[in-house]
C-alpha cells in the first residue's frame, strides 16, 4: 500500500470522441470520481503509441489508463482496433520487462456513459492503490 494514497498518479489517455466526452459528462453530471487521474486528450485511441505508456511508467506514473470508443464505434471507424493491438504490444513489453502490466488498463467507454467513466476511474485507482507506488518513481539511476 502506498503511504500517501492521494499521491497516487494515473495518466489517462482519452480519445476525444468517446471517453473524453464521457469524462465531461461525468463532470457535468456532478459525479464524483478519484482525483488521481491526469487526463491527456488524444483524437483517437490509436494515436497512443506504446512509447507514451512506457514513458509514463518509467517516469514514475503509478498507472496508465487508456480510454477509447467501443469496438465498432470508432469515430474513424477502425482506429480502436489498431489501438487494441498497440496496447497489447505495450502490455506485453511491460510484462517482459517486469514492469507490472497490471498498471496499464484499456477501457472502452462510450460518450454517453459518464457513470461508467467514474466507475472505471474509481476502480482502477483502487486497484493501483493496492499495487502501491510504481517503484520507478523514486529510482534515481533509471
Amino acid at each position: 500500500m502506498a503511504n500517501n494514497e492521494t499521491d497516487i498518479k494515473i495518466v489517462a489517455f482519452l480519445c476525444n470522441w468517446c471517453t473524453f466526452t464521457a469524462a465531461d459528462l461525468a463532470g457535468t453530471s456532478r459525479l464524483k470520481y478519484a482525483p488521481n487521474i491526469r487526463i491527456v486528450k488524444v483524437m483517437c485511441s490509436s494515436r497512443i503509441e506504446p512509447v507514451f505508456i512506457l514513458k509514463a511508467l518509467l517516469d514514475g506514473a503509478d498507472g496508465v489508463l487508456i480510454g477509447g470508443c467501443a469496438p465498432g464505434d470508432c469515430h474513424y471507424s477502425k482506429g480502436n482496433f489498431y489501438a487494441r493491438r498497440k496496447i497489447a504490444l505495450a502490455k506485453t513489453l511491460a510484462e517482459s520487462a517486469g514492469l507490472d502490466s497490471d498498471r496499464i488498463r484499456l477501457s472502452w467507454i462510450p460518450a454517453s456513459e459518464g457513470p461508467k467513466f467514474a466507475h472505471v476511474v474509481n476502480e482502477f485507482t483502487e486497484h493501483i492503490k493496492n499495487l502501491g507506488y510504481n517503484p520507478a518513481r523514486r529510482e534515481v539511476y533509471i
Binding site: E49, L54, R84, L89, T92, L93, S96, I142
Partner: protein, 363 residues
Amino acid sequence: METMIDSRMIMTDFLAALFDKLDVAAVAAMSKLPSGEKAAYTLFTDKSGLKECVPFFPAMPANAARAISKLTREEAPSKTVAVFLRPCELRALTELIKIKQASLDNLLIISYDCSGVFPFQKINLSDETKLNAYQDAVSTGKNSEGIRPVCAACTRFTPRGADIAISIVGRSADQPLVLSFPSEKGQTAAKQLGLDVSKTVEASPAVESLARERKTAEEALTEQVNESLSGAQGLVNIFDRCISCHACSYVCPICYCKNCYFDSQTFEYFPESYFTRMTAKGTLRMPVDRVLFHLGRLSHMGISCVACGMCEDVCPVNIPVSQIFKTAGSKAQAVFDYIPGENSDDPLPLLAYAENELEEFED
C-alpha cells in the same frame, strides 16, 4: 522440404556459373578486404574479383539486409543481382520489404543453413585454428565455441524465402555444393544452370541435432533474460552502463528511420523540465530517457526483430542487447502469432487487426 541436389560444383564454380549461365549483373557476398584480415559485404560485377569471395565467412560486420536496402531502396536494379544472405539477414530483408525499405525485384537470393557467426571483432581471416574448429562444428552440426550468444540460441537457422538454398550443416567444406531451389525464380535458375536433377541428396541428420542443441540453448537464454528483467530495478541494472550512443539502433536492420524518434525534438526538453524532474528525486540521471529508449525501441521493432545480434556486437559497454531483444521480441511476436521474416505475405501485426481478438488486453 525441397529436393536437394548434388550440384557437382564447388563454390568457385558456382560463383562463376552465376555470371556465365545465369547472366547476373552482379553478385553480392562477403569478400576479403585488402588488409587480408577482415571481410566486408561487397558487390562484384565480374568474375575477376570472385577469388576474394568468402560467402560463408562466419562474421557479420553489418547486417547485409541494410546493404540490400541501401542498394534497392531508391530504385531496384534493372538486371539480376545475386545476393548471398544469412537466414537472419534474409528475414530482416523480408521485413524491410514489408515496410518498403527494399525491393526484391531482380534479386536472386542465395541463402544457406547458418551455423552462426562470431562477434565481428573476434574473428579474422587469419585465425586458422578458430576457423577450422568452426568448420568442424558445421560439418558435425554442433554449436561452435565463441559464436554470438543469440546465434547459439538461434532456432531459425535454415533459410526461408531464398531462391537458391545451399545445404552446409552436416557437410564437409570440400564437398560439392548441395543445392535446393525453393522458389519459382530458383527453379528457373536451376534449369539455366543445367543441373542434373536426378542426383538428389538426403537431408543431413546434423541439421536435426543442431536444431535440438539450439532449442535447449534458446530455452536457457530465455530463462536467464527473464530472470534479469525484473521490473524497474532489473531494467536499471541491465542498462546501467548505457551511454545513450544509440549504436544498437543504427546497426539494426529493422530500425530504418533516418531520424530516430528518440533522437527527435520530442525527447528534447526545456531546461525547466529537467529541473522539475530533478526536484522530484533530488537527482536526475542524464541523459534522460535512457531505459525508455530501449523499451521504446523494442515497441517499435521488437515485433520484427530477427535476432541477428548486430546490436550486441556494436555496444561499446557490453550490454547484452540482442539477448534481451530476442527474448522480449519473441514474446511480443507470440501475442500476434507472428514470425518476422517467415512469410512475406504475413502483414505486420500493427498494420492489421481482427474485430474479435486480444480480449485479454481490454476490459
